[in-house]
């Protein structure tokens, strides 16, 4: 995994090697107007100044996951069903968010 810059499969369970005492995980799902999980949505993580940090594509379960740091982050989702933006104040461990995209 570490020898590439691409995003790993977003549907996979959190690897056992990830230490939640140290890592700050921002994860969640993307849903559309109907409440259905959205596969193939592009989710990007922006830092406290609005600067792009990373981007992943949701898998079948509409899931996304980032490894970041405690603090203020913005999540931005783009999909063929529309867009969504979410603000999050992350702490160590897993931080769950749901992004509802709409036109």
């Amino acid at each position: 995994m570490s020898d590439s810059c691409a995003a790993p499969d977003q549907d996979l369970a959190l690897p056992a090697s990830v230490d939640l005492e140290k890592e700050t995980v921002l994860s969640g799902t993307v849903v559309n107007d109907e409440g259905d999980l959205v596969q193939g949505a592009y989710v990007r993580l922006l830092d406290g100044t609005g600067e792009f940090t990373a981007e992943v594509v949701t898998g079948e379960g509409g899931q996304f996951r980032f490894f970041a740091a405690p603090g203020k982050w913005t999540l931005r989702a783009l999909s063929r069903y529309g867009d969504a933006t979410g603000e999050i104040e992350a702490a160590r461990g897993v931080n769950e968010t749901r992004l509802a995209v709409s036109r």
Binding site: C5, P8, R44
Partner: protein, 283 residues
Amino acid sequence: MAREDVLVTADWAEENLDTPGVVFVEVDEDTSAYDSGHIKGAVKIDWKDDLQDPVRRDFVNQEQFSQLLSERGIANDDTVVLYGGNNNWFAAYAYWYFKLYGHESVKLLDGGRKKWELDARDVVTEVPDRKATEYVAQPLNWDLRAKRDEVEAAIGVKNLIDVRSPDEYAGRLLAPAHLPQEQSQRAGHIPTALSVPWSKAANEDGTFKSEAELRELYVDEAGLDEGKSTIAYCRIGERSSHTWFALRELLGYEDVKNYDGSWTEYGSLVGVPIALGDEPGTK
């Protein structure tokens, strides 16, 4: 060089899916993306299996590249249109290879797979049956590729552009935020390198910004010296291919190199200078 010489729009691509002499190539690390649906007629190139040497830590050589393109049914006189995921990082990385090995006509699909999907354009799962060719690659053009000694010598002399995220640049993170952070090499950046994250060169839908916006970004905001040569780097040389494309192919700067060893190499070298924090630092 004009934008239309190096980039094609999604509309152009849709109109030219069946044009003889135009070959679409999807370049990804995640090959399941191609398998689940790709642009009609597109062949697949795997970033790792096809473009890296299986033994040495290096990418494919002239003969291996010739063999790869021959197998894929790509001819020397074909116009190759590259696209892929991750905002075209891998496609831009492959574009750089096509230029390194002297391919005449190669372009990127602006926005790559992302824009194509967001536009809800058609994809197919059928794999095209292309007849093998006798592709002959040119010797590697070292005018486009920087090696580590050259990079160290460029500190304070040439423009160095670090295209990683601000936190990677400052040394607060070792890898992009969608990857676990456990890694062994040192954090930070090459002293005097300007921080211009690759993402600033792209719009949200993955297309490249206009030439006017790009010039403002690199020259006016970041302070790139137009009278100097430039070397771009990231962590493993893909994101920096994207910036290399913006600087050389879109803005037309003549001497721009990609340092594909990038931070995974530089940050593991013994005895080289490293700067920490948000400022470029001094020589």
